[in-house]
């Protein structure tokens, strides 16, 4: 192959270098989220420095926050909340939205009309406002956050998947399957889904990024993860006072958010391609 220089082949899949970079960033953050309690150098709630907004030093690799707590430890633990909550929420919203979207497109008729109007109505509520109202009303806990974020991003996923599936639905091969007597579940899983999976995954990546940003936003407003625990958004908010001093305590949580969102985008735009053997 002529393009193998920029491609890595492994386990029957081909991945280009940019995709690999994104993949590595995502894997590193995922590993951090899993192993955080064992790799943090200091307990996250403990004040370990007499100075506040301390600089980068041998003892504190990323400096200290507004109370003198170790920022590295807090970012490592924060990954758990940011990556975990966002991942579960985005999986929820995409699987719900895509399933409903494909069903609406394939079944059509009144089911399509009802679903579309219902989710359009939900879509018309601004996402931050919706999050604020729910969290302020019910109180903040991790399940509430996950459900709220999931619900907020369902209409978008629904619209996206429905628009793609409507096009596929008019193709003759779907008609063939219908005339064969196949049920709705087979139609959406086997005929429609494989043909829209690429754009849907790209959309999932984008939606993950939105979720991370919205979660960070909610935490920044004080409605997300509650102290002394903190996700990355909350870390930015806590330490916003250090911004005039250029404190690493406010820079590094922002860098963490940026690296994760960019990493996910790079991976999604360059998903591994399955190598198919056509020789035999």
């Amino acid at each position: 192959m002529t393009r193998s220089a920029t491609h890595i082949h492994a386990a029957g899949y081909s991945l280009n270098l940019v995709g690999l970079l994104g993949f590595l960033i995502v894997v590193v953050w995922a590993m951090v989220a899993i192993t955080a309690p064992w790799i943090t150098p200091y307990p996250i709630g403990e004040i370990v420095d007499f100075d506040y907004f301390g600089p980068i030093s041998d003892k504190f690799w990323l400096g200290t926050d507004y109370l003198g707590r170790d920022i590295l430890s807090r970012i490592l633990m924060g990954a758990r909340y940011t990556v975990g909550i966002s991942l579960v929420a985005v999986t929820l919203s995409c699987s719900l939205g895509v399933t409903l979207g494909m069903t609406a497109a394939v079944v059509g008729g009144w089911l399509d009309t009802i679903l579309s109007r219902l989710l359009d109505a939900l879509n018309s509520i601004p996402s931050k406002l919706f999050g604020l109202v729910v969290v302020a009303g019910v109180g903040s806990s991790i399940p509430v956050l996950i459900l709220t974020l999931g619900v907020i991003y369902t209409p978008g996923a629904f619209r996206f998947a429905r628009a793609l599936a409507v096009n596929i639905n008019t193709m003759d091969f779907v008609t063939v399957a219908r005339a064969r007597g196949e049920g709705t579940f087979f139609l959406i899983r086997s005929e429609v889904l494989p043909n829209i999976i690429g754009p849907v995954l790209a959309d999932l990546g984008l939606r993950f990024v939105f979720t991370v940003l919205l979660l960070s936003g909610l935490s920044f407003l004080g409605l997300g993860v509650q102290p002394p625990d903190a996700d990355w958004g909350a870390l930015v908010r806590e330490n916003i006072g250090g911004l005039p001093f250029g404190a690493p305590a406010v820079i590094f949580p922002s860098v963490a958010i940026a690296s994760l969102t960019i990493g996910v985008n790079l991976l999604i735009d360059n998903l591994p391609q399955k190598i198919r053997d056509r020789s035999n």
């Binding site: 193709m171 196949e182 035999n280």
Partner: protein, 553 residues
Amino acid sequence: MANLVEIRDLKVEATSDAGRVIEIIHGVSLDVAEGEIVALIGESGSGKTTIALSLMGYARTGCRISGGRVMFAGRDMTQLSEREKAAIRGTDVSYVPQSAAAAFNPAQTIMDQVIEITRIHDLMPRPEAERRALELFRALNLPNPGTIGRRYPHQVSGGQLQRLSAAMALIADPKLVIFDEPTTALDVTTQIEVLRAFKSVMKKGGMAGIYVSHDLAVVAQIADRIVVLKGGEILEVGTTQQVLDAPRHPYTRELLSAFEPKHYASPARPEMTARKPPLLDVLGITAGYGPVQADGLPLMRALKSVSFRLEEGRNLGVIGESGCGKSTLARVIAGILPQAKGDIIFDGRQMARSAAGRQKEELRKLQMVFQFADTALNPAKSIEDILARPLAFYHGMNRRQREARVCDLLDMVRLPRTVRHRRAAELSGGQKQRVNLARALAAEPRLILCDEITSALDTVVAAAILDLLKELQRELGLSYMFISHDLSTVQAICDEVIVMYNGEKVEEMATGLRQAPTHPYSRLLFSSVPKLDPRWLDSLELDPELVSAFARR
């Protein structure tokens, strides 16, 4: 005297998506004299349009003229700058595209577009251009020449639009006109009018023409010489009479024999005493689209009370022009479009209106094959998965049985077993249609509905598919309902034919009996099919009343 066009050793390269360079025209040389019409004929992918476009110094996106000379009126089109080429295009060489509907801008009036060339090249003042356009409208036999220019493209029919695109090409009095399959998308009755108009205008103006087509019979009517192409090479050049009567190259002979497919039909009805109840009995079907009216019928009725019956082991052809309701008929029978009125009795059982209400066993016995092989195969699945699904669905086979059966099916449709790992995009048009057929066969049906299954294929490939259908019928005892607009295809395989016009069945007859059609529309339709005789168009006399009554010009 030097020829108007002299192409010498033309080579065109294309760059594929993977960056590989493929030569698609391998050193073609041909001449066109002043006032001569030369036809380029060949299957899809043979390079006929690419060669025609090179006469304008143009290569499609991704293609490049890599060698040779294209001399037009003494100038080498490959050496000219883009500005010089633009000056020649439209004025000295002009182009009539395959799809006139796609070539017109829906937002401008027809007149504006027809005289656009004179405006761009600043050839004549507008009133003079409009006067010339009017002359051309008359010469091309367009109805209401005085007012047609004020209409928009969607307000005229396909045949008229095709003639208008010829007017657009002829307005600047070019030396050479390139026709790129201009009648392929038209119905046969419309095609005659368009061909006649082209021919008379070209002869009167003494213009040279390049006529690109895959249809030998159409080409025979209009061309002086025929160039047979295959795989980017010239196989044979000769005068029309010579190519038709004494083809030298085996491929040309194959093309000619494919034009007259072998006749398999056995029109004689079986003994009346031995008749079993029919396999398919269609009783007074009315169906259509749009909102349901007060009388319980849909607004747009595509089928109006159509009835017919089909005996076991026999084949029924359904012919008619586009929009006559023949495809709707197949969709109703297959349960894709529920009928508003009427009954379908298949294999002794009344069928539910929609496929969802039919039993699995009923669905299994009646399979449908679609016109466009590419859209009927799921591009995300391998051929094996596509063929294995009906096996699991209807017959409940396990994995090992399925694998063996898929190989059997591929053998049956004469495809190598290795294609089962491929996807639809990696097969040719004819191979895809074979896979479609194999999927229908996987159900072990009694009746297969074939909706224009050979229309999108090249003549030679289509003839092979017909052979295959007949062979399968002999082995498996199938029946076919064969829908087509192509009379010769239907005559080749069907024992009986029904002719449809405007949603109604106008005639039912046995093929091959040399029995003349009785309904005036069928007479018009049958006489409109081009024959391989070059004198056919000139000698053809159609009853003008018949034409005005039925042909949608």
